[in-house]
């Protein structure tokens, strides 16, 4: 799946946050979006993850020769497949096209928002939404937990995990869904060095295994250098391509 941003603009309370941001995320790998605090990185990530609408501009996903783009005539976050306006089937359930698209990508937020239940059930949640249960789903959950090193804590209550473990659980929750694009918003903010290094190695492994396109934000320059295939910089609301690794 490829993602194209065209002339994205966003204002909050009269203040310009994003100004004419355009970019094509076309190759697999890790894209790192850098910028200072409050520069609009998280807003841009939420817009790309279809959790927020831009004031103007379009977010288009391209997959299998089809363009999937927002339709401003429908209203908030409703998308439709321009080339195929029918609904999609997901594990036997009929889904609206916008929801079907949202289920092919996922975002991990800095405030993870764990559910008040076990580690295992937190990971199972997204799969059960997609009607995935039974042995195949259990395997996906176990694999995701093992990938982030939480397999031994599967029965622990999620709200008793440390900050670093919570962040890793957030990533496991996303990985279990096998998203085509994984958005990570400040995945190592407010966690210790040990967990930062574990999460960085998870991201590197994902890249090596070619699991998903990863688009992440960070304000840590050295981390961006370590992880990025492409480095993007957001300054004064404008998006610039800084470097290709």
């Amino acid at each position: 799946m490829r993602l194209t941003l065209s002339h994205i603009n966003k204002h909050y309370g009269g203040k310009e946050i994003l100004r004419d941001c355009s970019y094509a995320f076309s190759d697999a790998g890790t894209y790192v979006l850098m910028g200072g605090n409050g520069c609009g990185k998280s807003t841009l990530l939420r817009i790309m993850a279809l959790l927020e609408e831009p004031d103007s501009g379009t977010v288009a996903f391209l997959a299998g020769g089809k363009v999937l783009a927002p339709d401003p005539t429908i209203g908030e976050r409703h998308l439709h497949e321009q080339h195929d306006k029918g609904s999609s089937l997901d594990a036997g359930r009929l889904l609206t096209p916008d929801l079907a698209l949202r289920r092919r990508i996922t975002l991990v937020l800095p405030r993870i928002g764990l559910f008040s239940t076990s580690v295992w059930k937190n990971v199972a949640y997204g799969l059960s939404l997609r009607g995935q249960k039974g042995v195949a789903a259990d395997e996906k959950i176990a694999r995701a937990l093992a990938f982030v090193g939480l397999e031994k804590k599967r029965d622990q209550h999620a709200l008793t995990l440390s900050s670093g473990e919570s962040q890793r659980l957030g990533i496991a929750r996303a990985l279990a869904l096998e998203p085509e694009i994984l958005f990570l918003d400040e995945p190592t903010a407010s966690i210790d060095e040990e967990n930062t290094s574990i999460i960085e190695s998870i991201i590197k492994t994902m890249k090596q295994e070619g699991r998903s396109m990863v688009i992440m934000t960070t304000h840590d320059r050295s981390q961006a250098e370590r992880l990025a295939d492409r480095l993007l910089l957001l300054t004064q609301g404008a998006l610039q391509d800084v470097r290709q690794a």
Binding site: A49, L51, R77, T96, L99, R102, R103, T106, L107, V108, L109, R111, I112, G113, L114, F115, S116, T117, Y125, G126, L129, R130, H157, L159, G170, R173, A174, L177
Partner: protein, 311 residues
């Protein structure tokens, strides 16, 4: 949980004792004499003294209070000074009417109020939100007696759709106007609380996480956000229910509804001490019971409460 409920039930006793003492002192401080109100000011001093003695009101106040407590210990509430009927019997006869009116009003207020609150939160800063805010501010501000009379004027006098007053031997048409009048304030308040509580829930990380995992918006709002907004809403509904079941004096009087509110008003106007004490005590028991039920409901509504309990 059971231990907690038992502890709260045991706390009923000192609470109720305190309420009887305060009500007793307040009643004695009120101007007016129940005996004079009963026999009239033209009665002879001998008659007044005889009746005062019959009612036990010639005894010192502490002894009168202890006498009342003795009565309570036998689960009795005394007899009305004016009708000589047992207060407990009157309360049991009128409570079902108050219960019917209170529950109908609250059902109306809860369903419409929560619905409007959800719409206002989901459609935040739109014309719908502003319209609902306007309606709820209006509902909170309008006096009950004015609303009751206005509804009566429109729906009973002009349109002739609904009966103006009375209880109509259980006909549902008779309860509509009193229930709407009584429930409008709660409806507006519940709508405001639901809106603010929903807005807070919708901004929580787990809601963003649920959306990011592909949960449909209807489920995000109704299943996750609403469930997590319920505690303040249930608290308000519980407090209102407690207040309604104590009798809605104005609504019951305007619509001729034979409930506890009208009974209490008759007691107050006639300085009928046993009636006033009985209504206050009965109301206090209901209020404390509903508060306990609301507290217990938190246990089921919010998993965090369960976690704290188990730690």
């Amino acid at each position: 949980m059971l231990q907690y409920i038992l502890k709260r039930v045991l706390l009923f006793i000192p609470t109720l004792l305190g309420i009887t003492l305060i009500t007793f002192i307040l009643m004695q401080s009120l101007p007016g004499d129940p005996v004079l109100a009963m026999v009239g000011e033209r009665s002879t001093p001998e008659t007044i003294a005889r009746i005062r003695a019959e009612l036990g009101q010639d005894r010192p106040l502490p002894l009168q209070y202890l006498g009342y407590l003795k009565l309570l210990s036998k689960f009795e509430l005394g007899r009305s000074i004016h009708t000589n009927r047992k207060v407990a019997d009157d309360l049991l006869q009128k409570f079902p009417n108050t219960l019917k009116l209170g529950l109908t009003a609250l059902l109306f207020a809860s369903i419409v109020g929560v619905g409007l609150g959800i719409i206002a939160a989901v459609k935040r800063d739109t014309v719908w939100d502003r319209l609902i805010t306007l309606v709820s501010v209006g509902g909170i501000s309008v006096p009950v007696f004015w609303l009751g009379l206005a509804l009566m004027l429109i729906f009973a006098l002009y349109l002739r759709w609904l009966p103006p007053s009375g209880m109509g031997n259980g006909s549902l048409l008779y309860i509509i106007m009193p229930a709407v009048t009584l429930g409008t304030f709660s409806l507006s308040y519940i709508a405001r609380i639901t809106r603010s509580s929903m807005l807070e829930s919708l901004s929580q990380p787990f809601i963003a996480a649920a959306r990011a995992k592909g949960l449909p918006e209807t489920s995000v709002v109704l299943k996750h956000a609403l469930k997590n907004s319920l505690i303040p809403i249930v608290t308000v509904i519980g407090l209102d229910l407690g207040s309604y079941l104590n009798g809605a004096v104005l609504t019951e009087t305007i619509f001729g509804w034979d409930g506890l509110g009208r009974y209490a008003l008759t007691g107050i106007l006639g300085r009928d001490y046993p009636v006033i004490m009985g209504v206050v005590l009965f109301g206090a028991v209901i209020f404390v019971t509903i508060n306990l039920l609301v507290d217990v409901s938190y246990h089921f509504l919010d998993p965090r409460v369960r976690i704290k309990e188990s730690r």
